[in-house]
Symmetry: C2
Amino acid sequence: MTCGSYLIDRLHQRGFRMTPQRMAILHTLRRAGGHLSATEVFERTRRAQPGLTEPTVYRTLEFLAENGYALAAHIGGGKLVYELTEENHHHLICKKCGKTISVEYTVLASVYEQLQLSTGYKLDSSHVTLFGLCPDCQT
Amino acid sequence: MTCGSYLIDRLHQRGFRMTPQRMAILHTLRRAGGHLSATEVFERTRRAQPGLTEPTVYRTLEFLAENGYALAAHIGGGKLVYELTEENHHHLICKKCGKTISVEYTVLASVYEQLQLSTGYKLDSSHVTLFGLCPDCQT
DNA sequence: TTCCTTATTGCAAGTAGTTGCAATAAGTAT
DNA sequence: ATACTTATTGCAACTACTTGCAATAAGGAA
Ligand SMILES: [Mn+2]
Ligand SMILES: [Mn+2]
Ligand SMILES: [Zn+2]
Ligand SMILES: [Zn+2]
């Protein structure tokens, strides 16, 4: 039916509920395919859900990310974006022009394992964002 | 004299100016020793500089970080903090309890070099923040 | 269907951070 | 000292994000 239906059982098993708002926000994320800010999600989802409010969007996105239904990424300048969980990947972002490239999930795996051993911290090893300067901006 | 005096020549060489506001903000950062948010910097610096405004604080901190006079770090939840450049280090932050530990600068050097070779990006290799769960929060 | 519990939402008000622009004042030259 | 250039600031208005709380409604039980 709608594009969030597949989640209903998983939500219920954990005591959560499916709502029209969550359904619509999931639909927006699915349709976008890539990274969206909370404001973008709000503006796009509102078209199908006129009553939708900003706090609901912020809380829903946080909820989805915390429970593994979506990925969050800090992309610099304090900006936070979300996307639906697809295959695992990381990002390199150019601080100057904003150009973003994806990095294989496996590239960071060994380093993170080493750090986990030496510190005891269990590190996020998915959807990590690294910053730098792209080839064009290194003048 | 005041704790930002040592910067005056370096600023002038680049066409920048030293101001009472910058001096006072540098003094606040120096005295704190560790990470401070923009709001914390504003509230502390205002005590010595009553006319100081928020935009000036935000712009000054951004200026200091962009020009290598201070370090910025995203510490999760969209929070951004600043500190004066001392010895190089990274941070591991627990997403649950917020506990932060420092990591040797050298730990990440080799990985970042490899990534630079494979992507062409020149990556930030100082004051990197990684997220995860500390030993206590891994239940 | 109807009732019940409580997760979730909307509202209203608040805090945090940003931006355009005119006024100020740091530094330099005369 | 004085005048000049323009980097920097303060102001005001704006956008982004958060929070407490009462009202709503999802899901389960009777
Ligand atoms: Mn991504
Ligand atoms: Mn630090
Ligand atoms: Zn670039
Ligand atoms: Zn912890």
